[in-house]
Subunit: 247 residues, 4 copies
């Protein structure tokens, strides 16, 4: 299997896991930078992630336009990915989704979403909230062009995830496995924080040092990370697509 | 397939999706105006929506009475649909359901249910709450005649959805796909709002302009809307009934 | 099929529905008065309700003792049913369960569980809370003899359901279908009330007159009630056991 | 079947139940002391508990090191189990997991997790909270050596369960069945307490005497306990692995 085929297969697994783990429904998407050309990225055509197969993956450039002639419909919000890949050379994979339990933190903006559980550390010390209304006024809230997407990417900055007010979130990471992991644990961290706040009293967030220690120790193909990836893939019914890179 | 058959098939799909997405259980129903006669509508006989097939669809007039002789039992609350179709010539499809997370907003009436997430925009700027007790005193809360149903339709007015105190909601839209979508996202919007309120601080609702922008951009057979309809139908085990109108 | 066989079959369905609808897990049980002898009742031997079949049903007297010699283990808390059938000649069926969302109202005793949704009306105007500690001091909280069970039945009085502090609830009704229905909607009503209270402001409970109107209109084999029973039985995988009494 | 084989089979069932009941996902593990050598314990190699089979069980010593040469990866946090077995000769089985609804009580430390439901009694009168930061500063929160594990075991002391701030919990009991039961009911008790607190007013916790009465009456192979174990095993798809010790 070529490297490109392996990456496409991993992207299919990522789609299915995000659907199975309730991060996406018919909406939401995941992308990966092209392994052979940093100015391109791979993402599904307009299709519910649970239904995505290798034949549904298309190649887009950093303006969100298809590299090859394509007559199938594309995601309206593919520009989110294009802008993140353009602004962040370090980023290899991105997710945009509407996971329900992340929404309250974009709506009640006085409360900050911050990591309180170890698996939530990858959201980083700060999660900015982007409000499309700030620079684009009254829209349908969708990110449908590069100007809006660039504005979102600017808000994301060097962070791992930005909440999008009344809409969802955009996440970026160094690998598909990492961005999926981050996207699955983001709503779980949100729930733990919401419930801790309801209990009342002082909240113990992860410290800056703890977040840094976790980031230092993280490798996407470590035994521990692979354990989850394998488990999630099997739960999502696509364990047969798994292939672990050597070394 | 005739146009009527296609509409019946779409209505069956709508029944199954509403069951699968937890909007209805054994109770709750969905209807569509007859494509050939605006004074009639189609709805299932008295049956749990998950079990509905094409042979279970009956044709009722705008008084909620069967057009043809019918010896199978009908929904007690079919009058809700009759009254909405009578009062609102623009409406092509209606839902009545008890979706759990909409109930608190009918019970704790000081808090208004309003859109806070983009997929909730279709509930509109205002969601009136109808209390059957206001005009009918102590009842079993069911809408079992045209007088009650007309009162509910009057409260609904030109809105998309009305909450029914201690009971559920009634929703109306320009197509089956729209009314199903609205009914699925209504409880999700309710949850997002409840949780944001628990976080505290100021809530950012969708603006009037955002709601209008979303309505302007909406078409029931657009790529994006169809993506969800197709996904939901497949999840509900009736993907084989899907047929997309041309053009 | 004899009347007794029909009742046993209905009891099996009741067991499976309560398991499928998350009212019971391995614990909790449902019983029905013997159709031919009011001094006996039918209940499963000690077995998780989801696993109960007709061969697992045993016949007990109103002291909770087996009518025929029985070497299989019986439910420790079968006395709850015996005491309710003894104290309440009107009652034909009973449930004891630990449904999670009913528990808070037994623990935080200043807040009363009362009906706020129409399907919750059958819990009645008042739901007493029984605390085993009041008359029996420090126990393991289980009702394991007739003295404790009679005390619970006394607290239940003429009501439909009593909460048991830190433990669960006991429900009684005129038929199996009614007691199952009550047990399924009890936690749903509890959730609706909890969430409405979190929204704040005044709560609109069902009025006394509404509760009475609903009770007046209720028949266990009506079209509407049967619709739910049939639906729940099919969901629970035992639709093939359904048989509707004539008339 | 030898006693060791029987214990291994029970450990496999424990793994599967904990996965099915949402106590563990890809992370979290369960162990049992070796039936023939109190200085060894059995635990799975690094694998998601849902996927564990008898061939995945390894034998470790009380330093968390494999007794036989082993080239498969081991759980990073196996030291938790080693330290508990070393510190507590009475303990025969242990669980470490991240069950979501236990997390808030480790984060909002002013509120104590205490038993409020009878099935939660086994968590005991006090649940200490261990914060790895207290003695080890900024870490990745994982317990990856014996010094950390011993510190956790010291905090656990003679209790049944310790919460681990921002991470999860460690539980210890006299048998596999007991530690699984405790781990399943721990989050359920946490939810009941959280919701009761949201209702407000005074909370009725289980009394010291009630907790003691429940502990006195408990036997892991009693009819009642076995009923749950059998039910959970069947739900988890491994009923065929069940074997009940005689007597």
């Amino acid at each position: 299997m070529s490297n490109l085929d392996a990456v496409i297969q991993e992207l299919v697994i990522a789609n299915r896991i995000l659907a199975r783990e309730d991060v996406v429904d018919a909406y939401g998407h995941v992308s990966v930078r092209h392994p052979g050309d940093p100015n391109r990225f791979l993402i599904a055509r307009s299709l519910a992630p649970e239904l995505v197969g290798p034949e549904d993956i298309v190649e887009l450039d950093l303006d969100g336009q298809p590299v090859r002639s394509e007559d199938r419909a594309l995601y309206l919000e593919r520009f989110i990915h294009a802008a993140i890949f353009a602004a962040r050379p370090d980023v290899m994979a991105a997710v945009h989704a509407h996971a329900e339990d992340t929404l309250p933190f974009g709506i009640a903006q006085e409360v900050k979403l911050r990591p309180v559980i170890h698996s939530g550390s990858f959201i980083g010390t700060e999660v900015p909230v982007w409000d499309i209304a700030d620079n684009f006024g009254d829209t349908n809230l969708l990110v449908t062009n590069m100007a809006q997407a660039n504005d979102l990417a600017k808000c994301l900055g060097g962070h791992s995830v930005a909440l999008m007010r009344g809409h969802g979130f955009a996440a970026a990471a160094l690998s598909l496995i990492e961005v999926v992991r981050l996207s699955v644990y983001l709503p779980r961290n949100a729930r733990a924080l919401m419930r801790a706040m309801q209990l009342g009293g002082e909240i113990k967030y992860l410290s800056q040092g703890e977040i840094a220690a976790r980031n230092r120790g993280y490798r996407p193909y470590s035994v521990e990370t692979w354990r989850t990836w394998e488990y999630w893939a099997k739960k999502a019914g696509c364990g047969h697509l798994l292939s672990r890179p050597e070394g």
